[in-house]
Symmetry: C2
Subunit: 310 residues, 2 copies
């Protein structure tokens, strides 16, 4: 079984949406990525940090999913990273109400010995220097390194971000971030510019409008599943990345053709994430539901135009 090394925040979130409000619940990119990837046949570890206030029951959710948390550092007397946000009515935009970095402020990731040869590395959204530090600790060159990042690092750590972008095979950003990073409005042009920065594969996430995968002149598109209700978009992008990386790690195939499947699986996992607050839906999700929904993605996108009509 292939190894998937994940680095990303494990956190407390408090979320307000038009549908309600949570107290402090489990959050963090590393958590969403890990939970999503756990639906695939991979051996995964999450490198992260939390405080002493982080409950054992949350740690148990990782181990129940066979996620190695030997490198999930619990800082004595420390407090866990806390983020709070409020979504607007259309759920496409949000205001950050609180960001308390806490233990994440001094996070020095330590890759476990037995994951220094992981086939796939998933760098969740964190300071680019933390992401670089993880890559520097690998003793065997990974088959695939996937980077997720966001506009915040483009604003305040662009040179470091460009360093890590140089060293990855796949980058995932949303449409606005792709535009900000390149100064190009057209996503086709933006993806071409990002490829010049290093990554052979560029994934542009458009939220409810789906995701695009670019490689050279090739483009693939996966729609988001049209849902009756979108409840809470928190973690959808991370869950997408976890499904993508988990599927790639399981299938040991980094061709463009197989990445199409990975994008579909990423969209599949994300479609569940948004159905409840925080990770609630992911926690109760079954493999059967994932496979059923894969059929829905097929029905949604596959067509067969007969040759006699051409």
């Amino acid at each position: 079984m292939n190894k998937l090394l994940i680095v990303g925040s494990v956190a407390f979130d408090a979320i307000e949406s038009p549908f309600g409000k949570t107290g402090k619940i489990l959050g963090g990119a590393g958590m969403y990525i890990g939970f999503s990837a756990s639906f695939f046949k991979v051996k995964s570890a999450v490198v992260s940090v939390v405080g002493e206030d982080f409950p054992q029951e949350y740690l148990d959710l990782f181990t129940e999913r066979n996620i190695d948390i030997s490198a999930l550092e619990v800082v004595k007397g420390g407090k866990t990273f806390f983020w709070s946000g409020r979504y607007h009515n259309d759920l496409n935009s949000r205001d950050t109400l609180v960001t308390e970095l806490n233990t994440l402020a001094d996070f020095k990731p330590v890759v476990p010995e037995n994951f220094k040869d992981a086939e796939v590395v998933m760098l969740g959204n964190l300071h680019p220097l933390v992401q670089i530090s993880v890559l520097d600790q690998m003793t065997v060159k990974p088959k695939l390194v996937v980077l997720d990042t966001m506009n915040f690092w483009m604003d305040c750590a662009l040179p470091e971000l460009k360093e890590v972008i140089k060293r990855v095979d796949v980058i995932t950003v949303n449409d606005e971030e792709a535009r900000q990073l390149t100064g190009e409005y057209s996503l086709v042009k933006a993806a071409a510019k990002i490829q010049e920065m290093g990554p052979k594969f560029v994934v542009i996430k458009k939220g409810e409008h789906g995701a695009l995968l670019f490689n050279d002149k090739q483009i693939f598109f996966a729609p988001a599943l049209p849902l009756e209700e979108v409840f809470d978009p928190t973690g959808a992008g991370d869950t997408f990345a976890g499904g993508f990386a988990g599927y790639i790690a399981q299938s040991e195939n980094i061709s463009f053709e197989n990445m199409k499947n990975a994008i579909i699986y990423g969209s599949n996992m994300a479609s569940f994430c948004v159905e409840k607050f925080g990770p609630e839906r992911m926690i109760n999700l079954t493999k059967e539901e994932v496979l059923d929904r894969l059929q829905q993605f097929r029905a949604l996108t596959q067509f067969d135009i007969a040759l006699e009509n051409e």
Copy 2:
């Protein structure tokens, strides 16, 4: 060969976009639908009205495409409908600068005798009473009636619009119009409500974000082709409708499976329309280019997840 009856405006447009500005050029929903449908093996007629100022060379563009214009009335001393608009920087929104209804104000559509038994009727965006009048003139019930409309009629002729909606098989609206018509934000819920109003098939156009087709519990999605440059979105929705109706009329098959293909063809045709100002690209388009682009749509959307991964 099946008959396709089209009703829709034939007009002068003047367009401003971030890429430039046109003088008075050929425009109108009926023109875009007709030109798009002319790429399919159908016998089509456009029912419309223009003024004496409408140049012969524009009329020739219809006849060169084998579009019957015996019911394209030229009003002596009349002036042709004129619309002028300016697109904003993102091309997703626009301001109307001028609307001169002219001959369109008193338009009484007359369906040609030999099209009163047309298999497919495409009701382009016009006053709902004009659309109803066309349906009332049919002597044989069409196999499929497709309706395109817009928010303007929801604002000022809603009861009449609801009458025509009751009588059609397929409706095409954009996402905002679907929301306005139903009061539902979720497009899945909006499509369900529109189906209750009459049409078995609901097409929701999302511009650069593609199009959704709904029928009962089934959903199909066609992306817009990601383009390096979108030049002018004028007529893209009509061109989509023309490709949809043209393909359906050619293939004589109104199953959901075949409508998937029609949606793909509609998106295919629309992807050309936006590449130049007005109908310029459609006028110079070849059948070979359409078929080439169909391969791009296949590559963009088709995937093959092997069973062993499930």
